[in-house]
C-alpha cells in the first residue's frame, strides 16, 4: 500500500485513460526489442498505437477494418521471430476474431499480444455494440492464453512491457475513459501476481474492529478500471465499522490462487468486482478456485447478463450495478451470508 498513489483519495486525483499506458508501454517495448511490431485495424490513435507507428513506421502494419486478418497476419509474423502487438476495440479483437485467436495464435502457440481497448460499459455514448463485456470469458477459456486487466495507465504500461518480455499469447484488456491513477512507478508488477491495494486493518483505522469482530471483515477482489471504486467503497465501509481488504487481480489468467486463498481464509467472505459479464468473467474464475479449495460466500459485481447502452460512463456504471454503492451493498450482503 505504501507504493500506491498518495493522492488516491483526493478529489483532484490525476485521471488518465488506461489505454494510454498501453501506447506508452508499446513504444518502450519497441525501443527495447527490434522484433516488436505493431498491427492495427483502423483504430491506431484510439488504441494509442500511433505512438509506436510514428517512431517505427517500418514495423507498423495497417490491416484496415479486418480483425480476422489482424490476428492471423500477426500469427504468421511470429513464425519469423516477430513479437506482434495487435490492437483494436475489445469487441472486435478478441470479439470478432475469436476463432482466429484460438487457432492461429493459441493453438499455433504464436507469441502474439492482443490489446483490446474500449472494454466495459465505460465506453459510454457509443453504446452497447461497442462495449465489450464478454472478452475476459472468451479469452481466459483458451488454453495458453494469459489474461491481464490493468487497473490504471501506469499498470497498463508495466503490463505491456511484461507481455513483450514473456513468451506466449497475452490478452491485455484496456478501457477508454479516464481512470484515476492508483499505482506509482514503484508499485511492483508481475504477471500472475495479485496485490493487496487496500487493507483497513493495516491502516489502523479499524483496529478496533479487527480481531474483535471477524463477522465484520470481508475481502474484495477487483480488476481493471473498477479497482478504484472498490478501494473507495472499502474506505467508506470502514466508517461503518466494516473491515475490508481489496485485492487487485490484474492477471486473471494464470490465476493467483495463493493470494485469493489467503484473502478467503482471512476474511471468509468475498466480493468480486469487474466491468464485465458476471457469467464467465474474473469472478467466475475466482469462484472456480474457491469452490475447489476453500468455499466461502461470494457476491459478484458485474453486468448481469445484460448488454450496455449509451450514456455517460458514470451513469452506466451506476445503472448496471457496478458503482461504489453497489459494491458496498454487496459487501454487506456477503457478510450477512457469512457463517
Amino acid at each position: 500500500m505504501n507504493n500506491l498513489n498518495p493522492k488516491i483519495f483526493d478529489k483532484d486525483v490525476e485521471q488518465v485513460p488506461i489505454r494510454k499506458g498501453f501506447g506508452e508501454g508499446l513504444l518502450i517495448a519497441g525501443e527495447k526489442n527490434e522484433n516488436v511490431v505493431g498491427l492495427c485495424a483502423d483504430l491506431t490513435e484510439s488504441t494509442q498505437m500511433h505512438l509506436f507507428k510514428q517512431k517505427f513506421p517500418n514495423r507498423f502494419v495497417q490491416v484496415g477494418v479486418a480483425e480476422q486478418n489482424l490476428a492471423t497476419v500477426a500469427s504468421g509474423m511470429t513464425a519469423m521471430g516477430k513479437i506482434p502487438f495487435i490492437s483494436s476495440y475489445a469487441m472486435f479483437s478478441p470479439g470478432r476474431n475469436w476463432e482466429q485467436i484460438r487457432t492461429t495464435i493459441c493453438y499455433n502457440n504464436a507469441n502474439v499480444k492482443i490489446a483490446g481497448s474500449h472494454a466495459g460499459v465505460s465506453v459510454g455514448p457509443d453504446g452497447g455494440s461497442h462495449q465489450a463485456l464478454e472478452d475476459i470469458s472468451i479469452t481466459r477459456v483458451i488454453p495458453r492464453m494469459t489474461v491481464i486487466s490493468p487497473c490504471d495507465a501506469i499498470e497498463a504500461r508495466k503490463a505491456t512491457l511484461a507481455a513483450a518480455e514473456m513468451v506466449g499469447p497475452v490478452y491485455i484488456r484496456l478501457a477508454r475513459e479516464k481512470t484515476p491513477i492508483i499505482t506509482t512507478e514503484e508499485t511492483p508488477f508481475e504477471i500472475g501476481l495479485g496485490q493487496i491495494f487496500y487493507d483497513s486493518d493495516e491502516r489502523g483505522s479499524t483496529s478496533k474492529i479487527e480481531g474483535s469482530n471477524p463477522s465484520k471483515r470481508a475481502g474484495i477482489i477487483a480488476t481493471g478500471a473498477l479497482v478504484y471504486q472498490a478501494i473507495i467503497a472499502a474506505k467508506e465501509l470502514e466508517k461503518e465499522g466494516i473491515s475490508v481488504k481489496v485485492l487487485n487481480l490484474a492477471t486473471i489468467k494464470p490465476l493467483d490462487e495463493a493470494a485469493i486463498l489467503l484473502l478467503a481464509k482471512e476474511t471468509r467472505a468475498i466480493v468480486t468486482v469487474e466491468e464485465h459479464q458476471i457469467n464467465g468473467g474474473m469472478g467466475s474464475a475466482v469462484a472456480e478456485s474457491l469452490a475447489k479449495h476453500f468455499p466461502v460466500p461470494v457476491e459478484f459485481i458485474g453486468a448481469k447478463d445484460k448488454f450496455g447502452q449509451s450514456g455517460t460512463p458514470a451513469e452506466l456504471i451506476e445503472h448496471y450495478g457496478m458503482g461504489i454503492d453497489s459494491i458496498k451493498k454487496a459487501v454487506k450482503d456477503v457478510l450477512a451470508r457469512k457463517k
Binding site: T72, S75, Q100, T104, N108
Partner: protein
Amino acid sequence: MSLTDKEIQHLEEKANDIRLSIIEMLIEAGSGHTAGPLGMADIFTALYFQILNHDPKKPDWPERDRLVLSNGHICPVLYSTMAHSGYFPVEELKTLRKFGSRLQGHPHRDFLPYLENSSGPLGSGLSQATGMALADRIDRGDSNDRYIYCLMSDGELDAGNSWEGAMLAGKEKLRNLIAIVDRNNIQIDGFTEDIMPLENLRARWEAWNWHVLEIDGHNFNEIVDAVGEAKAVFEKPTVIIAHTIPGKGVKEFERDYRWHGKAPNKEEAKMALNELRTLGGKIKSELE
C-alpha cells in the same frame, strides 16, 4: 527452365508413390479426405522434390522456404510427401488420425514440429503466410530470395478472412509470397459454382493487385515454370490458380465431390491401390 524427360519421369514416380501412401493411410485411418490429397499430389511432389529450398534432415534450418498449408484437411498429401522426401519414416504414415500420433487429423505443430503452421479451420492460411512474408521483408528487404508458399483450396475462398489476407498482401506488394489455389471445383456440399460461385476467380485476385497465373496442376513443367515466373515478378504477390482433378489418379474418385470428405472402404481402397500400382493399367501390378 523446362524439366528434362528424366526429371519429369522421376517426379511422376514420386507422385504415384505419394498417392499410394495416401490411400494406404486413409484405409488405416478409416476417415479423412480423399479427393483433395490425390488432386494435389503432383503439386506437392513438385514443391518438395523440385521447387522448395529445404532440407528434410534439418527441418528447422532457418534459411528454408516456408510452406503454409491453409486447408489443413488435405494433410494426407502433406504427410505423405514429407515422409517420402525424408522428414520421417514412410511407415509412420499408418498412424494418421490415431491417438498419440504425430499425424493429427488436421496438422498440428505441437505434434509434428516440422510443420510451419497448425491448420484446419479454413480461410486463415493466406493471412499467416502474408504475415511471414511481411516479417521477412521487414528483416531482409525486397531483394530477399526466400519465398513463402501458401497452399489453399478454392472452397476456402468463400471465407472473408482469405480475401482480407489477399487484400493486405496486394497492398503491401509482397513479391516473396506465392499462393497456390487448388482449383478443383468441389467442396463438401457440392460444386463450388453451385455452393458459392467464385468466378471470375482470376479477376478477383487481379483486383487485389495480385499477379495471376493459371496452370494445369498435373503438368510438372507448368507447375515449375509458374513458380519460376512468380519469382520473376517483382512488384506484387503471385497466385497460381492450379486447375486440378479432385481424386486424380483413381478414375472412380475423379471429379466426384462425394469423395471430398470421406475415406475409401477396403474394397474401394483395393481398387484404388491396384489402379495406382499399375499406373492406370499401363504396367502389371506386382501383387497380381
